[in-house]
Symmetry: C2
Subunit: 230 residues, 2 copies
């Protein structure tokens, strides 16, 4: 049931497989954020040559999950509050636009599919047992569908191909994300309504508010924490 990133190709080459394994390892923190990557060590660990490992590293770099400096090496990206807020700013603008485009270009079939997904989420939430699921994968499901609905390959690449790996990484590592389950669900419903009405302008505004609310929620938590220590 847990939906994967829709832009993830089925791995065909061994470098692909190692890339996906490392992707999960980094997102879930098994390879710690900020840690240096030793090519010889990892190559031995995955039982592959250094060349194919470097191929995998290149793809991780494409997702902005690692950073490489010439003649120095690769490091897993750090997870900072500032970095998280930066991502929310980008998401607000890009997903807002994706939502506007989705209202224009989504097929009726795609819209009804999205409604179905939301209904599923609703029943899970009603049972009060899928809350965690909705917060995690369910929320991603919804956002993925909207992004794909834009039918804009650039938007899809940037959001699903790069940014959302980082989003998942932050969610795993910080844990404290999207603690607004019921509100978020309500907002998702309104967004779908706007898309179904083909009201792109409203859809964009609602999506931007939805993401901005999450960002402000985090900013508040930070402010709280800071005021507690003083």
């Amino acid at each position: 049931m847990a939906l994967e990133n829709p832009t993830l190709q089925t791995p065909v080459t061994t470098a692909d497989k190692v890339f996906q394994r490392m992707l999960h390892a980094i997102v879930e923190g098994h390879i710690p954020a900020g840690s240096k990557i030793s090519e010889p060590e990892l190559a031995k660990q995955y039982q592959i040559s250094r060349s194919t490992l470097r191929e995998a590293l290149n793809r991780l770099e494409k997702c902005h999950l690692i950073e490489r400096k010439p003649n120095i090496g690769s490091k897993v990206v750090e997870c900072s509050i500032e970095g998280l807020l930066e991502i929310y700013v980008v998401r607000e603008s890009l997903e807002g636009m994706a939502c506007r485009q989705a209202a224009m270009y989504m097929t009726d079939r795609e819209i009804s599919e999205m409604k179905d997904i939301l209904t599923q989420h609703a029943s899970m939430q009603a049972l009060k047992e899928g809350t965690a699921y909705y917060q995690e994968e369910g929320d991603l499901d919804f956002h993925y569908k909207v992004i794909l609905g834009s039918h804009n390959q650039q938007l899809i690449n940037i959001l699903c191909g790069q940014l959302y790996h980082l989003v998942r990484m932050y969610r795993c590592q910080f844990g404290m994300n999207s603690p607004r389950a019921s509100k978020a669900f309500e907002e998702h419903s309104r967004i779908i309504e706007a898309i179904a009405d083909r009201d792109g302008e409203l859809a964009e505004i609602l999506m931007r508010r939805h993401i901005a609310a999450s960002r402000k929620n985090i900013e508040n938590k930070i402010a709280e924490k800071n005021s507690n220590t003083h």
Copy 2:
């Protein structure tokens, strides 16, 4: 005077140098859009091994200038009208947000520097001899400064590190871009005013209109061309 892409590092490794040479070659069309890339042939041409060529190809892929399919090979991206319009949509949202952030976070020094640049452009335009320059590099200068002024690393990476290579490629290959010199200059001035006033909301709106106007200008040209053939 012609400003380069601000995120382009000074090349240190040979793969870097080949990457930059190929970058220019693709942007300027010396390596034709849509053409297949033969690794052995290019490696011989640049006098390097296939491994380092592949390293360069990976970076080109990161900029979305080439596309790779496993076991099949690399192709230079095609330049289609639809692709160009997609980029404008992304730019409208991202640069709009960058402009909003710039109004919040640009330093006074950065703002005055940007005013200086615009004054330079103004004198060139008045002399009626720098029109071409302003349309090409001058316009990019301005947009680069705004993007950097957002002080948001994610925005900077996506726009300067990836999207703007494609923008330059389309400008070179289609030629018919930003034919709105005087209007564009006027719009740039208003945007800087809004940033200097620290009015993020207005700055975003103006930037979005500025880019949307370019997009509509292109859409109109296409529509014209189509109606002429009928």
